[in-house]
Every structure is written in structure tokens, then in C-alpha cells.
Symmetry: D2
Subunit: 313 residues, 4 copies
């Protein structure tokens, strides 16, 4: 279908679009003006080779939990799945030699285990690398920073057991860990954070609350303080995750800066975020270091993606 | 919501359910009566360790191509994505310190790069391991064999360049390769298929046709003959894929046995299928052997899943 | 997109489709072999003229209640709505002179006030007028008996206040009314049921339970006995409705004949069913007779449709 | 689920929301500060009684055409329907005495025959009656001006045959009719527009183009000039429709004022808009005057609704 008319109308509109999001509100990425990848640029053949050397016993971990229509999520996110048998209504034979199920979903992509693309959270009218919100946020898909741009994330993974650091089975909603806490765990576990790492935090929150009290689970969470996000950025990690739905502590100590860690990581530093990561099995095995492998399904223009990264050690 | 009434009605109905799918039509899996995993059971710490030794230069490949609303798919599959800004209508400030995009999709999960779960194709009323179609194919999600049961697929990956074998840039729709063809390529490439492997076929079909002639791409495909599927099963592979949307040749030499390879692999042998795999970059690099890593997102009861496996060598 | 391949495959399959649904299981409609309209054929210019004479005071009633994501419905039905502003992300100016909201839904059409098309409920493999389930129930839309075939339902409407008959504010789940009950109310209200009528029953169920106890509301209902359905068919009505989600009594006195009223009305007699009708305002006004007007939105191949019929007296 | 946290965050955000949409940009409705109904307030028992007197021969017309997945619509609107048989997979018996089809849709509500609610188009940050866009346009549904507020539209309907006026089978895209044209047709047909009317324009566009050239159909349209909208508002009509997808002429004579008729009718005057109305059968019968009846299905917070109004004469 040719929509020249619509294109015409939109062209007229673009002139008028100004408002927030001036160049002053953003800092170009060190990876170059056109970059859509951020710190994932740090992945090199050499870094991958090095990460692969962390595979010592061959044990694998599924970092994505199972989701369904009952999985709580940040409003108004929801999920609905249908399994159907096209052409086989009422036992009709669609094919002489086979039967089949097919499936369709209506879902928000920010449910359960997910990666936040660099177009998910920004500030002052801008997303990562001075991409203006008004320019890229098309209703039918991000025109830049879409999830299809995320390269395979293959890197050294480190999980930091913050619950253990605090001597609890699980941290509480609103409880955050500071840079000192993180450094203490790095040292204790002998797993210093390095450039190019994927860093995961284990708070115990999802193991403790998702099944037993889903409303509490989604209404708050323990997590990183804003300073931790800056610290991780200073270490040049490529992704930050946690066993919580939002990584940042909620409620935030400063209610005017909720999810500021998202702004720091995604927008200011091009660092991807990994949510609802199943870190329990890792820490129970004291598997603090591993090769992390994530290939996120590539729907053009998607903001986030449901994922199931694999840890191998 | 309690639906005791409905449960009551359904219980009455279950008594009546008979028809096709008797025990005689299926063979229990060698992995045990309750098994939902199939040959992926062959993945062990030792096999993973061994596969990891294929990482020699640290190069990574994204085996999933980008999909969108225009990607052709087996009818009536379709995809629609919306990117939205909850709470930020017309520039409203939802949060004092940030802005965000969110996204939702309405889609069939069998589009583009996908894994077929063991509940996707069966025959004679049964799916893998004597799971009766009438029992497991609930409208709201498979009650057994759902995609959430697929473990991380980490294994030796082998890509067989069939197009090169036939001396063409791409094979044609309806053109199939035989067991002899496969064996010849195994030998030529010095990549014998081994137990526990993920085997991918490069036909050149998607590179040649998806963009240039999408209707042709989805209306037919080169692929494996039925005997190849049996041969691969005899080799105890864990997954079989190709750079086509359906792996099996279409039209089939025998129109009454279309997609019979699916029946052989999925139902009879518990071997997962990987479709629309981006094998071009692998064969261009002559990267015939690699570590294959796939963590499929885990929607409970889903039949298939859009994926982006990673090859590392 | 041309799908000759698929057409070819399906043609082969059609030969094999036999099973239930033989001609013996159905009786052709008195309206002719190709009829998809049923008793709505009784609507004539004369019947409309006569119905219009029931408009005496000009008062109008909206028979459809408001539905949303929280409205309970027969599983697995659900509804999700999004209001969006295409091209206006973050206050972007899409048009120099205007702003706009748009909306999309993911929903099952059998929620709240709804009309059941003649392809909704059948038996013995057949729907109305010997339409075989295997033939018409295409995944992408009914190929016959779709809601687009329902003509405007303009007729004399009669509401029978069954709650008042039993001297209660509302009838109870599982409580049914018999033919004698219906006849008694016809007489008491001086509203005899006539050929071509739309008959609605007021049980008080929705007014009493939908808001106060939604789980109870959807788990059962008062309603017509099977004999009432036959009686109404004998009277040649064109549609039967109630202020319940399913018109038929549930639990049924005979658990093996749940919703048998649907079979009798829809399949055996071509009489449409109207569910969750807002009859409260009518009976409170003693507006037992009125002109009923319903134009159901016409999505090709839909089974049901959300509606809001208008009563005018 | 309790989302106190989110409520808290949003409360903080509301303080910051200012920007466009000040009181100066809107004029309160003459129907009162809280009014959500607009000119539909003109519907009274007396007006309904009077409209009913237009029923003289009992002929009924379905003003809604049939829509499906192929119906073109303003981007990015689309529709997808699935017909399914819950609990009856592969011929399973869900109920001893019956079979059934169910259906679900994923669709934008602005497709084909539709009513635009008063929250559909506004300007300067405001919708009808000084409802600020930022306040009412919630992602999960309009909090004011949702379609559930539209009362039954029962009124005198008038169709003006503009194609006949211009001596053509159909007007062309970009061709508009002026106030003088409208007045000429009013006089010629002897159907003066009166307060409380529903006015429909017949341009011949949909009859001529929808099936034969769907791309052309949706890329432009004949329609009312801006002045006609003002004229209709001055006549206090309750709704304005046409046999085009957008009522207003497109391209507009002034590209900076596209769809200004929507602003005038919806926002400035509380007059509903009816699109893609099937006026052909009316003008072929010279049925220029009739009783118009529309009960739009009531999804809470919906912006638009697919409809099928009924004309009765």
C-alpha cells in the first residue's frame, strides 16, 4: 500500500517537532555518532575467547524463568497465549501424515526474564547516543535502537551474591546495596568486575517472593543504588542484571529519581539491562564466574525482548 | 477466579474422549515414560565441555535473522508490534527523571527463526512419547511438551553446505538432498555428524529468496528428504535446522508425506527442529564446526519460540 | 501472497475428512439449503412497521453493559485495550492542527453483551442447517454462518420478568424457569410471545452479582430450561436473550445436557442468542414490550460479536 | 493486585505535567463542565418519537459494511481474527451434547464502519469540553470521553447524495463539497437538516473504490470542507457521517488543516463522526430520510468502535 498522502502529512509535522530533547541534553556515545550497540562493542574475538576459558566443568544454567499469563509485571503489561490446530478443527485431517499445534500470543515484551534495549529508558527527551525520543519512538517499532541491533552478548559473567553479603535469604523491597557493598562482594568472592563483563546481582527476591507473594514481588524490589550503576559504568561492563524485575531499588531512596540506574546504564553508557535473571542456581553452586551467552530474538523495532540467557561454567 | 463448574463439565467430557491416539499409534521414548526433553537429554557436562573446545578464535554468529510484520510465514501466521509510552501521552511527564518506551506484540510464534517444540508436529493422534493430542493441546497452552521444557541447547554445531555440494548458490524449492548427499558433505568438510550434535543445513534459500521474492520463499523450499531425517535420528543428534522456513523439502516428492521429517524428528525421536537459521555467514567463513548455544524464552505451554541461537567458534 | 502449495496440500486433506457430522445428524433448515439467517428471515417490512408502532413514548434503553479487562467471562476469554497516540510520541506534533488518540484491542468476542451467531454452538458435528463443523470452522474465520450474515435485528421485543414471577430480586444459579413459568409471566404481563419476537428474560442475576461477586456471576446462572428453548422455537421467535452470560441455566439439571438450549435455538432452529442483556431498566419501567434494534458489527467470519442493542418504546 | 507504589510514583509525576493544553485553548461545552456526551444530549423522548414517525414502509438498512483482515485502514491499523474450538482439540469431546466455536481478535477499533468518540481528535492539547489530552489518554483506556459514554444514537437520519449533486457516480479524492453544495442538496431532496439530526453524505467513494482499488480508497477521499463541518455544527446535528473512511476531504485544500472537520465536530461541538457508512442502498432507494439507530458496543475507555447502525424508514 502506498501511503504518500500520509508521508506528506508527516513531513509537514516534522518541522513543528521541537520541544525537549535538544543536543544539550545528551552526550554523544564514545562509540561514535551512529552507534546503536553501546558497550557491547567491547565484545571482541579475544574477549569471547577469554570468556570461553571460564568453561571448566561444562555445567549450564538457564537464566530465564518460566512465564505465563499469571506472571506479574509492571502495569499494564500482560500476556495471553493460545494453542491452536489450524485446519484440524473438530478432528479434521489437514495433512494425511501428520497433525500439528501452532501458537499465537498477545503480550508485552517486558515480562519476566527480559533484556532492555537501549531505546527503553532515557531522559530529557533523549535515549542513548542523542537519539531523540520523538524521532525514534514510532508506534510500529523503534526506528533506531531496536532490539534487532543487540549483538550476541557473549562475555564473562559474574554473579554477586548480595543476599549472602547481608546475611539474609533475601533482601527486602526498598533495600539497596552501595558501591562499598558491591566491592566487598567482589573481593569476598574473588570475582573482580572487569571491562566487558556481564554483571548479575543475586538478592534472593524472586526466589523468595514471586511464587509466594506475587503482588509484593512486583510492587517493590531490592536493588542497586544509583551510585552502583555509575560504578558499573566506570568499570565498562556490557550488561547489568539481577534477580528482580527492575534491577534498581524500589521504592527509591529519592522518589524523584526512581529507576535512575536505568538512565545511567542504558542512556548515558549504552549498557544493557537484564531483568528477572534466575541467579539462585548459580549462587547455590557458588558459580560466581561463567561464560554468559545471550542471543535475543530479533523483532525489528522492539524495545525489549523476553530472553533466556545461558550461563556455562 | 474459581471455575469449579467448568472443571465439573470438563471432567464429564474427559470420559467421552477416545477416538484416535491409542497406545498402539506411538512408541514410548527411550528416555522414559515422563520424558519431555527427548535427545536433549544427551547434553551432559562432558558434552558441553567438549563442545566448548570448538571455540578457537572467539568469533560469534547470530543465527537468527530479523523479523517484522512483513516477514512471510506459514498461513495464517502474522506479527504486529506496537511501541508505546505509557503515562507519557502527549509529552506528559510520567517520571521526573526519565522517559521510557514499552512494547507489545500480537504474533504467532512460528515466524522466522524458530525452534519447534516436541508438541508441534505429531501423527496418528500422538505427539512425542505417546502424548495424546487431545490430552495436551489445551487452548491456553500445551499441558505437556511446552517450550518451557526445552533445556539450554549447548552442543557441538555442524553446518553442512549443501548448496556448495550441488555447486549452486542456492538449491531450488522442491529440491532435496539425500543421505548420500549428506554423507558426502560430512566427508568433504571433515565434519562427521556425531551423537549430541546440532546439525544445520545451508541451502542458500533464505539468502537468495527471502528479500528478493518473499512469496516464492514461503511457498516452497529445498530441504531434507525423509530418509535424511531418519539418518540424523540414527546418529542421535539433538536438533536439526536449516536456512529454510521448514527444513523439510516442499513440495515433497510424495505429497502425502509432506513434512514427514518433522514427524520423524519431533515425534518419533524427540529431536528439536530449528528453522530459518542464518547459516550464510558460517559457510562463507567455512565455519563448519562450532559451539551452538540456544536458550529459548520460556513461555509456559508455548509450542514454538522465536529464537536467535549463537554459534561460537 | 500466493499459497498454491498450501491449497494443494489442503485439497488432498479434504478427501480424508469424514468422521462425525453425517447428513443424518442434522435437519436442513426450513429456510432453504443455503440459508445462513435462520428465523431472522421472519423480519419483513410489515413486521418492522408493526414493531415500530410499539414506540409510544420515545424512551430508549441501552441493552449492552460496559465491559473492560476485569469483566469475567467464560474461560479462556479475556480482553485487553490500549489507547495510543501514533506519531505523537513524547508530544511530537503529528499534524499541525490536531491531536488524536487511537485504540487497539486483543479480545475474545464472547465477553459481556454479545450475540451468538449460528456457528457458535452445534452438535453431532454440525451447526445450523447441516453446516459441518469441519467444513466451516476455519482458523481465520467461519466460512459460513459468520456474524456478517446476521441481518439487522429489528423486531418486537418482549422482556419477561422472571425474578418478579418468583418473588425475588434475583434468581439463583442453577434455578431454572419452566414453560409454565414463562406462560404465566406472558399472561401476567399481557405480553404474549409472538412469531418474529425477540424475547429477553430478566432474572436479576447480572444486576445482583456482576459487580458484587464476579466469580459467582460467571460460575453459574439461573436460566431457561431446555423445554423453554423448545417452546420459544415453537413460537418462532427470532432471538432469545437474558440478563445472564449464557441464557441457559447452569449447572444444568442434567449435567450431560449443559447449554442444550443453545443447541436447540442456534442449531436446530436458527434462533440467535443474546447474552448479558441489561434488562433491569426495562423491568423497573415495566417496559415489557418495545421495538428492539440491533446492528451487530460485521467482522467477516466472526462467531460472536459484542453488542449494544437498543430498546425503544 | 495493589499497585500503591506505582500510584505514588505517578502522583509525583502529575505535579510536573503542564505543557500544552491550558484552559485558554478550549471552550467549555454548553452542556456543562462535566459533559461527555455532546450534542447527543439533544436526544429526548420527543425527538425519538418524532424520528420514529419516519418509519413508513418498514424497510431496514445495514449501514455497516463487512470488514476483515484485508480491509485497508489508516496506518498502522490492522485486524486479525481467529476461530477456535476450546477443549475440542483434534475432535476431543468437550461436552457430551454439543460442540462450539469461539473467536478472538487482535484489532484496531478504527477500521471500516466506525464511530469516533469525543476523545478521538482534539487540538491544542485538548479534547472536547476542555478535557486535557495528558489527563484522559491513559494507555489502558480513556479515563474520560470513552466510547462507553456514547448514548444510544436514535434520531432522524438524513443522507445527502453529493455524488448525484455533482452528476457523477462517485466524487474524487481531494474533491470537497461546500456549504452551498450541501444546501443545494438539502433543497433538492427536500430534506432540510434539522437540530438533532444524524447527517450522512453519499459520495460514492466506497462503492466505487474499496473493492476495485483499496490502496486508492485509503490514500485519499472526497469529503466535507471545513466550512461544512461548521455549518453542520451551527445546525446542531448530533452526528455526521459519510461513505468514506474519514468524512473530511483528503488531501485537504490546506495541508496544514487536514481533518480539521474532525476538530470542529468532535472537539469544538461534541458531534460524533460516523465513518465508512454504507449509504449506497439508501440513495439508490432515494431513502433520504429515516430513523437512525446506533448502539455502539461499550468497551470502557475505547476511543472508537466498529459499528453497524441501522436505518429504518
Amino acid at each position: 500500500m502506498t501511503h504518500k498522502i500520509f508521508a506528506h502529512l508527516l513531513a509537514a509535522a516534522l518541522v513543528a517537532a521541537a520541544g525537549p530533547g535538544s543536543a544539550a541534553d545528551c552526550e554523544p556515545s564514545r562509540w561514535g555518532a551512529g552507534d546503536q550497540v553501546g558497550n557491547a562493542n567491547l565484545i571482541t574475538q579475544q574477549s569471547v575467547l577469554k570468556a570461553s576459558q571460564l568453561i571448566k566443568v561444562g555445567k549450564i544454567y538457564s537464566l530465564g524463568i518460566v512465564i505465563d499469563a499469571n506472571t506479574p509485571a509492571y502495569p499494564p503489561r500482560s500476556l495471553s497465549l493460545q494453542v491452536v490446530q489450524p485446519g484440524q478443527q473438530m478432528g479434521k485431517v489437514a495433512s494425511p501424515n501428520s497433525i500439528y499445534n501452532d501458537d499465537l500470543v498477545q503480550m508485552w515484551l517486558g515480562i519476566g526474564p527480559q533484556i532492555d534495549g537501549l531505546g527503553h529508558v532515557g531522559s530529557e527527551g533523549n535515549y542513548y547516543n542523542c537519539n531523540k525520543a520523538v524521532d525514534i519512538s514510532d508506534i510500529s517499532g523503534l526506528t533506531r535502537l531496536g532490539i534487532e541491533n543487540v549483538p550476541p552478548l557473549v562475555a564473562r559473567g559474574v554473579v554477586l551474591d548480595m543476599a549472602n553479603h547481608f546475611g539474609v535469604e533475601h533482601m527486602e523491597a526498598g533495600q539497596y546495596f552501595s558501591v562499598d557493598d558491591v566491592k566487598a562482594v567482589e573481593k569476598k568472592q574473588a570475582t573482580p568486575i572487569r571491562e566487558g563483563d556481564v554483571v548479575l546481582f543475586h538478592t534472593g527476591w524472586t526466589d523468595a517472593k514471586l511464587a509466594s507473594d506475587p503482588d509484593a514481588w512486583v510492587s517493590g524490589e531490592p536493588g542497586q543504588s544509583e551510585e552502583v550503576a555509575r560504578y558499573l559504568a566506570s568499570r565498562n561492563v556490557i550488561a547489568v542484571g539481577a534477580d528482580t524485575w527492575g534491577v534498581d531499588v524500589l521504592p527509591s531512596p529519592d522518589p524523584n529519581r526512581s529507576f535512575q540506574g536505568h538512565v545511567i546504564l542504558l542512556k548515558e553508557n549504552g549498557i544493557h539491562i537484564l531483568e528477572t535473571m534466575n541467579t539462585g542456581p548459580l549462587v547455590r553452586d557458588k558459580a560466581y564466574e561463567f561464560m554468559f551467552v545471550l542471543g535475543a530474538a530479533r523483532i525489528r523495532g522492539a524495545v525489549q525482548m523476553i530472553i533466556n540467557p545461558i550461563a556455562i561454567r
